[in-house]
């Protein structure tokens, strides 16, 4: 499917509003912080508004038509998500607030189900804090230990190194499917298969990969997958945990309260069936409807076309950065291994100054450790700057980033 950037840009009111600034002598914001959160197309916001205006009531609660309508829309969103990642059943999809909550849920509940003293959890040095801290806390609760798989310079992982960490005490492996620093998609299928050989469960963090690359949980044979709606055009506050049905059924609940029970007496509780066992309290129905609309939008363009478009932009950005002296991009030299994410350092210039200069050119990037501070300790760089591109970005926006990056060292008093 061919990609029509003009048409895509028109779907995002944000870009039109920014472009109006040109007439007033201003500069539109070049939004290149998409790994932090994406912008929202009209179709998503309108779907949310439609739900809120005309279909809102508390799902599952009422016997009247409006509540049944709300329930159906919420559950249709679940079906949409299940199909999007090729889950076997809708009940394998748990709606959460975001990927962090999904990972906390699985760390808490799976930890309670399977961890005991002396057990081992394997995660990696590149993880976002949300796929590292919940495991460290779970390990602490049960007297288990956390082992870290190191990455290579290009952001890849060695399957052999991974296998050498696995023991019969390894109960859980938690690994990102795509690092938010390197942008490299990890072959989680091989790592999951190796984990399964020693009887460990495999949890993949898909927060970065799911919006940018087709994900098939059955093909990957992963046990759990977390991701956030807001990084894939949906509103903030809706996230997903995919889990294999037989595991979710065995796991104890995470949060407790309304709608996650079947019977409650003063002495006893019977929990609700999946997926409601894991969705305590009133749900984020409009968020789920927004996520479904976002999936419709992504699929209307096609994940393959999105990946191809993002590769073009990434290649332009990476080639441009390589031509500027004293700038190092973390990870692979190959644009195909970046998926829009370019994290870099500039010799002699602190990321805070880099970000301030880039912000002054009205280009949005992120500076700091990007919630992956241990990785920065591992590679020995205190902090970095990250530009992250999405299919709706333009060549002109990438060029504006490159233009300002060229000026940074001269502005900071260096001859080149």
């Amino acid at each position: 499917m061919s990609f029509d950037i003009e048409k895509v840009r028109k779907d995002f009111p944000f870009f039109a509003a920014e472009e109006k600034k040109i007439a007033e002598g201003g500069t539109p914001l070049a939004y290149l912080d998409n790994s932090a959160t994406s912008q929202r197309p009209r179709q998503v916001v309108e779907a949310v508004a439609d739900y809120e205006y005309y279909h809102n009531s508390n799902p599952f609660r009422g016997l009247y038509d409006l509540s049944i309508d709300a329930t159906e829309r919420y559950e249709a969103a679940r079906t949409k998500v299940a199909k999007f990642i090729n889950a076997r059943a809708d009940k394998e999809i748990i709606f959460t607030r975001n990927a962090s909550e999904s990972l906390n849920l699985v760390a808490y509940s799976l930890g309670e189900m399977c961890l005991k003293e002396g057990d081992e959890i394997i995660t990696t040095v590149v993880e976002h804090h949300s796929n590292m801290l919940p495991w460290r806390l779970a390990a602490k609760r049960y007297g288990a230990t956390v082992k870290y798989l190191e990455c290579e310079k290009d952001g890849s992982f060695s399957l052999d190194s991974f296998k050498s960490l696995l023991t019969n005490k390894t109960k859980i492996v938690a690994m990102t499917a795509m690092s938010n620093i390197f942008g490299r998609i990890i072959d989680v299928k091989s790592f999951a298969a190796a984990a399964h050989e020693v009887g460990a469960y495999f949890v993949a963090d898909g927060a970065q990969s799911v919006p940018h690359s087709k994900t098939d949980v059955q093909d990957l044979d992963i046990d759990f997958l977390s991701f956030s709606g807001h990084k894939m055009l949906a509103p903030m506050g809706i996230g997903v945990l995919y889990g294999k049905q037989e595991l979710l059924e065995k796991m104890p609940p995470f949060l407790s309260g309304g709608e996650m029970i079947e019977y409650v007496t003063f002495d006893d509780i019977t929990y609700a069936e999946l997926p409601h066992k894991f969705e305590a309290g009133t749900v984020n129905a409009c968020g789920a409807v927004g996520l479904a609309a976002a999936i419709d939008y992504l699929e209307s363009i096609g994940l393959d076309a999105i990946e191809e478009r993002e590769l073009e932009l990434t290649r332009m950005a990476l080639d441009g950065i390589k031509a500027i002296p004293h700038i190092t991009v973390l990870g692979s030299d190959d644009a195909e291994e970046h998926h829009g994410i370019l994290t870099f350092k500039i010799d002699g210039v602190h990321p805070h100054d880099i970000a301030a200069i880039i912000a002054d050119a009205n280009v949005a990037v992120r500076a700091g450790h990007h919630c992956a501070e241990p990785l920065h300790h591992f590679i020995g760089i205190p902090s970095t700057t990250r530009a992250s591109l999405m299919f709706y970005n333009t060549e002109e926006e990438v060029q504006r980033l490159l233009d300002v990056m060229k000026q940074i060292r001269p502005m900071m008093g260096y001859p080149d």
């Binding site: 990321p351 805070h352 008093g413």
Partner: protein, 152 residues
Amino acid sequence: MQSRTFYNEILTEHNIHPIHKTKMIEPQKSLRGVNPSCGDDITLQLNVSEDGTITDGAFFGDGCAISQASADMMLDLVIGRSVEEAMSLKDTFLKMIKDKITEEELEMLEEAGALKDISHMPSRVKCAVLGWHTLEEMLKGGDSESVSTEDQ
């Protein structure tokens, strides 16, 4: 739009070629100052003679150009002065950051006056005052092991 960057020559020179960025061998006073939100992290070291004169000083650490240059310019200004004079210059510097300084006061700050425009850049104020804030805590003679600009 108000410019948020103003890397003038005085500032970049103090950042790239700092005069006082080094470690003293046996400093009488040493105090770490941090900006937790942006990661600026310096350790300030001073020797103060019995008559209350700052005889020597240095700093080391990591941070943005503004935090590093500001600390360097501060040491330029206070070495050789009395503790009272240093505290008074600290007050003058903070007045400048709050955009309430007279021309005469600005002159007293010498090269540190190059940071005057920070008063229009709220997000960079903490970077500029880190060195001065650490100096203040040190000269007040408290026993804290480090100071954070976010305690204020």
